[in-house]
């Protein structure tokens, strides 16, 4: 068997693949955080809970109503996105313009409540969700085995990330978002309904998280605390990439997944800490993040 640096090639690529998959989730989640932070200037601590709700909704809708994966892929993000818009309208809007710490605590509180309620009902042991039949099996490549579903996750994450980037950087709606990020008051003075734009943006960011949740349902353990585990890593990714850069959030997400995967191959004990080490180094050298604008 071929070896690279004392590691079998199949193992190396296997870990690399897992890294890219994790990276795809990091990218989707940090992308949503970046979109929300850009216009609302809030750090959405409820993001993990929204991801979890996307996954839970997928499982619950299947168990209760027999709604399949393909429908859930669209319906779950829409439901969770609407829920996010309600949070924005009834809660976040009341503290707009206050110090960051208020929205941080508020969204954190909302996340804990959602988690608590769902834990009460469903427990934390994890819910079973079977892979859609279409995805049974995988590609047998020379150097590794690539399950269909893993390929699908990477493909969908890339499509959604690219689509979001395109919408924000190249369209009129995106121009509103970019301009609103700089000076929302002036935008409103031009006659643009900024409060509506803010609701929709929060809803969209939350939808991205819920979409990641649906993608995660067949491969990760679905339970009410799944969001809080991944969110800490995603915040580290966001700090590394720098707040406010859409492309930066996507690239950093994928990159950190790969770094984590490689570390798992060569020095597994360190794999859960490596992202935080990178974060410390980046903060020391470039405090505004790899893609952040210098303050």
């Amino acid at each position: 068997m071929t070896m690279i640096l004392g590691v079998p090639v199949a193992v190396l690529f296997g870990q690399l693949l897992l890294g890219i998959i994790n990276g795809a989730f990091y990218a989707l989640l940090s992308l949503g955080l970046a979109v929300i932070f850009g216009l609302l200037k809030i750090i959405n601590f409820a993001h993990g809970a929204m991801y979890m709700m996307g996954a839970m909704a997928t499982v619950i809708m299947f168990d209760a109503l027999g709604i399949n994966y393909w429908v859930a892929l669209f319906v779950a993000p829409v439901i969770v996105g609407c829920f996010g818009m309600l949070i924005e309208y009834f809660l976040l809007r009341r503290i707009a313009g206050q110090d960051h710490i208020y929205s941080l605590l508020l969204t954190f509180g909302v996340a804990l409540m959602i988690q608590g309620i769902l834990t009460n009902i469903y427990g934390v042991s994890g819910m079973r969700y079977s892979m859609p039949d279409l995805f049974q099996g995988g590609f047998k490549l020379d150097f590794m085995y690539l399950p269909y579903y893993r390929a699908w996750v990477i493909f969908m994450a890339l499509v959604v990330c690219f689509g979001t980037w395109f919408m924000i950087e190249k369209t009129k709606l995106g121009a509103y978002l970019r301009a609103g990020t700089e000076d929302a008051q002036l935008m409103q003075g031009f006659g643009i309904n900024v409060p509506l734009l803010i609701s929709l943006t929060y809803g969209f960011g939350v939808m991205l998280a819920a979409f990641a949740g649906v993608l995660a349902a067949p491969i990760y353990s679905v339970n009410p605390v799944m969001g809080s585990n991944i969110l800490i890593v995603v915040f580290a990714v966001v700090v590394i990439g720098g707040m406010g850069s859409i492309a930066g959030a996507i690239i950093t997400g994928l990159l950190m997944g790969v770094i984590e995967g490689l570390t798992k191959t060569f020095y597994p004990e360190f794999s859960s800490a490596v992202i935080f080490l990178v974060m410390v180094i980046v903060l020391l050298i470039r405090p505004s993040g790899l893609f952040g604008k210098e303050a």
Binding site: K172, A175, Y176, R178, A179, T181, E182, D183, Q185, L186, M187, Q188, G189, F190, G191, I192, N193, V194, P195
Partner: protein, 240 residues
């Protein structure tokens, strides 16, 4: 098409306007009227409350009391985005060019609020520099070009009342001349213009009337015809 502006139509009537930023009370009862097609200036020293008056009209200050009628509609309870829809175009001090947008995106950002605005072609004819640099980042333009852009983007929207805040600030004389030409053209088109201006020599030949502000109040109203006789009063207020 009606020739000449309808001079007796009140496009803007501000009465007893007070404005606050947090605890600080900035405007202390402003009363002013601007008729359609008029060019009116707000003169005064820095901190007299001229920019705040424009912002208060746009509902961009913390708290306001009093009355602001635009085209006969009371706007005190209007959200800012509804005010633009009444045909008001606002050009902020420091221009407010968006750095994340290129020149063309900056220009087309404000939605069209009324029919009868200038087409992109007309605008690019009026400001050829903007056409040449339409794919440059908005804030990479020179100060003068940025000012042209800030003006141009509210001409596209069809707004028929322009609130212009310190548009000549920090610009070279040749650019200031160009801006004066543009204002004359706009006035001839029948647009109503409220101009906050530091540069009296720029404003004097253009304006129909001047309001002089001090300590958040209007202390003098001078028509173009009275300028000469009231020059001493004006100099006193402006500290020239």
């Amino acid at each position: 098409m009606s020739q000449g502006p309808e001079k007796d139509y009140e496009q803007l009537r501000v009465a007893g306007l007070h404005a606050f930023y947090g605890e600080s009370h900035i405007l202390h009862g402003i009363d002013l009227v601007v008729h359609r097609g008029e060019l009116v200036t707000l003169l005064g020293r820095n901190g007299a409350g001229r920019s705040t008056t424009l912002k208060a009209i746009m509902n961009m200050v913390g708290r306001r009391t009093g009355s602001i009628m635009i085209n006969g509609n009371e706007t005190m309870s209007c959200q800012p985005h509804h005010i633009a829809r009444l045909g008001v175009g606002y050009c902020p001090e420091h221009r407010g060019i968006f750095s994340a947008l290129n020149v063309h995106e900056n220009l087309t950002l404000p939605p069209v609020v009324r029919s009868g605005g200038m087409s992109l072609e007309e605008i690019y004819n009026m400001f050829p520099n903007l056409y040449e640099r339409r794919f440059s980042q908005g804030t990479k333009l020179s100060g003068g070009e940025q000012q042209m852009l800030a003006m141009a983007r509210i001409l596209r929207t069809g707004a028929n009342m322009l609130l212009l805040d310190e548009i000549t600030e920090g610009l070279a004389p040749v650019i200031v001349e160009k801006l004066a030409e543009v204002l004359v053209k706009l006035k001839n088109k029948g647009l109503t213009i409220v101009l906050v201006e530091q540069n009296f020599h720029f404003a004097a030949p253009l304006a129909d009337r001047h309001y002089v502000m001090e300590h958040g109040q209007i202390v003098e109203e001078i028509s173009a015809a009275e300028l000469e006789s009231k020059q001493a009063v004006l100099d006193n207020y402006l500290g020239v």
